[in-house]
Symmetry: C2
Subunit: 230 residues, 2 copies
């Protein structure tokens, strides 16, 4: 093996990971799977793609080594291969947001259109959460909450929001989070809570972002459920 053949071989291997990250749909799939394992059907529905297409993308991610697949009955459940993939995805997203300023523009535009009030400074919001001054809502589907969530957060999936409004304590500021800065669930929750006169704010980070910022979670490591949850 020549030096050139060695370098070509090694970088060709690494490029498999790059190729896996080179498609918008695949990145969306990865971010969903970072929250909790899912079946092909569910992933296809959530990303608004056909099942066949989603299956193909999942196979590319699997071939790259980023996913594990497990067949149970008629369903194939895909999940991140290990916690290091989840951790890497946080780094990848951070780099994307830092180096592609366009992302910030798109976010601003979208959330402004949603009628979001001047986005509260995330730092001060975090500080209130740390001090327990705000009621923290996890508005993702219950299964994702179960997989990993912020300690002290209440699970209130979006479809149940209105029907469970009365259970919320009065006169307490509410902070909602979902899957991360590219997820719209929390923004929609805030919109609907405000319609009912509740002072609500959106926290941008996912459980794993917040965990990395030092907030206590039920997950011991990014991407995989904690022992206590099993």
């Amino acid at each position: 093996m020549t030096k050139r053949a060695f370098k070509d071989a090694v970088y060709r291997q690494a490029a498999w990971i790059g190729k896996a990250l080179a498609s918008p749909k695949r990145l969306e799939l990865l971010e969903l799977l970072a929250q909790a394992p899912r079946t092909v059907e569910v992933l296809a529905a959530e990303t608004e793609a056909t099942v066949a297409n989603t299956s193909q993308h999942l196979q590319i991610l699997f071939a790259a080594g980023l996913l594990d697949a497990h067949k149970g009955g008629r369903f194939v459940t895909y999940r991140l291969a290990d916690a290091s993939v989840g951790k890497f995805l946080l780094d990848f997203r951070a780099l994307s947001e830092k180096r592609r300023a366009e992302i910030d523009r798109i976010k601003r535009q979208f959330f402004a259109e949603m009628g979001e009030v001047e986005p509260v400074n995330q730092e001060t919001l975090l500080e209130r959460v740390r001090r327990g001054e705000a009621l923290v809502l996890d508005v993702r589907p219950a299964e994702e909450f179960h997989h990993a969530h912020l300690v002290g957060a209440i699970s209130l999936p979006l479809p149940e929001l209105e029907s469970r409004l009365s259970q919320l304590p009065k006169n307490k500021e509410v902070v909602a989070y979902c899957r991360g800065p590219f997820c719209v669930l929390a923004a929609e929750a805030v919109q609907r809570l405000r319609r009912h006169g509740i002072p609500a704010y959106r926290l941008e980070g996912s459980v794993y972002d917040l965990q990395a910022l030092g907030l206590p979670t039920t997950a011991s490591a990014s991407g995989h459920p904690p022992a206590v949850d099993r």
Copy 2:
């Protein structure tokens, strides 16, 4: 903007970074640039590609936001856009090595073919370096050494190795490092040092890997030169 349009737009942006990482040649260029800025010509020579092809790859990396370009005279010098890109590359390489076992196989085969003795445990090697028990050689080109290097390391570029052998202290173990685990310079240095009867070992990590492991370097942050060097 619908929710779908939002997600599509955001992930399309992030996928630019993925696309940049999806080519073996581009990954090789990035790892070279992580050591020091370079011109197109030099990069083409080092990656054994045509200048036109290299220029095209560099433009893709630039468009993705990973590189800065600076024109001085007739030369265009490319460099990593900022230190966060260098840091990310370490994470990307780590994930690649972890999730694509084939890389380890290729490395073992190549270095075995080079006649490398049973690869010394990197941990024990590092410990000897930390304790100052070994003479640490930086066998990269002088310019890269100047850009950032391990504190205490001696610059001994490969082409000068034989001619400067006599300057090495006798009876001291030698440890050589270069650009990282995919770089062959240190392995070749070790090979040649051993031919001259010098007990030499290869350290896998780059300056930035070693910095992340806590070894003192002249670089304050990954990928960009330290203030002290300017």
